[in-house]
């Protein structure tokens, strides 16, 4: 049951200062996420997906800047808030689960302390008061030996357990928006499925708005309600999962689907990989037109002139002058 819009990103453009130049990693990306739905942001390395997420919560590295755009949360523009106000939101109303749970924990602190930490920060609880709540959350996330995990150090636990603990940490203050950055990339396949269903359960149970970032379209299509495909820092296609997986229109999306095993394509379809390499942000800046051109087999004259606008059907949009026909 999809509820109200929790977060709306509008025309977000983010640049990094590198080697004396400003390179745009994200260009004019817009999307919404509502409570009760999972929006997946999918793209290759360098497509700008992680940057989008970190820009939303204002955790860009020192050399990154938001050039333009608006990120609405609760009717407020997150980009215009003071540092203090933003800090109050982080961990409490908006939770971010970083990549690679194994390194995201502090190696010299027990897991229990770290899971309870948001409570200590935001609710002013002492470690002792917060511990039982942390334990409860851990149990909720499917961890069985809660006592052991609470007292353990990160290197004593497996990747899957750490990811569950990380999600528990994110959920401990019951945020309304949950952002997960590549939650399954560092895990093996069986654990991946478990974590994905956990994410789904949590989302349903708390009626959360979830943003899921991944490079793996097939993985996210198992749980996502809507998918945003990024290429070269721009939105290539956005729509409901079913549309994206069965009726995608953008050549890049099609290419992604064809290059991975998925049950939604015809069993006779061949596995073909996308030719070429992900775009260099420097080049994308310099050359007008669609960044996918070098790898696209459907290129027409307009593609070199300007970046195609996002258009399509209600709820399903794509940025292509010559989209793939519906197969």
């Amino acid at each position: 049951m999809i509820g109200t819009t929790v977060c709306a990103v509008d025309g977000l453009t983010v640049a990094y200062h590198s080697g004396g130049e400003w390179l745009k990693a994200v260009r004019e990306v817009s999307f919404e996420v509502c409570s009760g739905e999972i929006l997946a942001i999918v793209g290759e390395t360098g497509s700008g997906k992680s940057t989008t997420a970190t820009a939303m919560i204002r955790m860009l590295p020192r050399n990154g800047r938001v050039v333009s755009g608006r990120v609405s949360f609760d009717g407020r523009d997150l980009l215009a808030l003071s540092t203090g106000e933003m800090r109050r939101l982080r961990g409490q109303d908006i939770a971010y689960v970083p990549q690679q749970p194994m390194s995201a924990f502090n190696p010299t602190m027990t897991v229990g302390r770290q899971v309870a930490e948001p409570l200590v920060i935001h609710r002013g609880m002492s470690q002792r008061e917060a511990a039982p709540l942390a334990a409860k959350r851990l149990r909720e996330m499917g961890i069985h030996e809660v006592e052991r995990v609470m007292r353990a150090y990160p290197h004593e636990l497996s990747g899957g357990m750490l990811q569950r603990a990380m999600i528990a940490t994110a959920m401990i203050c019951q945020p309304r928006l949950l952002i997960l950055d590549e939650p399954t990339s560092a895990l093996d396949v069986t654990i991946q499925r478990q974590i994905l269903s956990l994410i789904k359960e949590v989302q349903v149970g708390y009626h959360l708005a979830v943003v899921l970032i991944s490079h793996d379209l097939t993985v996210v299509s198992q749980v996502a309600d809507r998918i945003l495909v990024l290429y070269g820092g721009r939105a290539a296609e956005i729509g409901p999962t079913l549309d994206i997986t069965t009726r995608s229109r953008h050549p890049y999306t099609r290419g992604l689907l064809r290059s991975t095993l998925t049950g939604t394509l015809e069993h006779k379809a061949k596995l073909t990989s996308l030719a070429g390499y992900p775009p260099n942000p420097l080049e994308v800046d310099r050359e007008p037109g669609c960044p996918f051109r070098p790898r696209c087999h459907r290129e027409i004259a307009e593609c070199a002139v300007a970046f195609p606008p996002l258009e399509g059907e209600p709820g399903h949009l794509w940025a292509c002058y010559d989209p793939e026909p519906i197969s």
């Binding site: 109050r88 970083p98 995201a104 924990f105 930490e117 150090y153």
Partner: protein, 333 residues
Amino acid sequence: MIYYLLRRLVGAVAVLFGVVTGTFVLSHVVPSCPACAVAGVRAGPAQIAAAAHSLGLDRPVWEQYVTYISGLARGDFGISYASRQEIGPAILTYLPATLELVVYSFIVYAVLGVGLGLVWAWRGNRPESWIIRLFSMLGTALPVFWFAMVLQLWLGSTLGWFPITGRLDMDPPPTITGFYTIDALAAGNLDAFGNAVWHLALPVTALVMWLFAVATRLTQKSVVEEMQMPYVRTAIAKGAGTRRVLLGHVLRNAINPVITMLGLQFGWLLGGTVLVEVVFSWPGIGTYMFNALQTFDFPAIMAVTVVITLGFVIVNLIVDLIYPVVDPRIRLT
């Protein structure tokens, strides 16, 4: 873990042993005549021989060595050439003054060094960092004895803000620890306490100024490295503020090399203390050693060397023991 501690203990004993043996060897290499010194200027050959006998100098060398070692173990450091008194008790009277100076200097320097290092690491390229950098460079380049004298002259004499010499201007409080500050507080004597602190100010400043740079630089480097670690992002994502990130997370991980360095620098501190004590006429073992140097009172010099080494070894042993407490990663290896 026990294995780790045992190895450290053995190492400490080895160092002590090496030093003691070294001082023994040195004292027998010295082309002087200890018997002559003890017997006195006007002594004839017979008296000198008698003195030599009483000092045990006519025994075989290895026997002297054993006597020396067992004497040390008992706390018997021998007789001073200059005063003809036993050295052990003499050192004991001078020791508290040095300990007080050393302990306070160490605390101030550790806190200041680490604190400034943190500020420098956090403030990156802002002016505060440049000031810290400048001061630490200056600090390391100072000859500590000269700086002590400069403080004495300008802050003590010219401006009159601090006393120039000594530990106290009044009768000392009843001795409990030998630390005037603590004893004064224990006796409820706030005047004495204030006065003792006032006297400590300049010597401690001289020592700290000279030492803090290394701790600062190392803390800064260590903290900057730790701040690149992923868990820092996690903490920020939880809404942690600067203080929590630095003090609650980064510091406990970054502190390791700093603790080692603090232990090693203790050796510098001890050396510097000798110099500073001389400048301020501070009645500690540094002054005692200096006086011994003037009179070539060799046993006294060697005794102080052994005592200082002992202190150094103990401090480093404590540092080794602290490690596992601070860093759980070491506990488990």
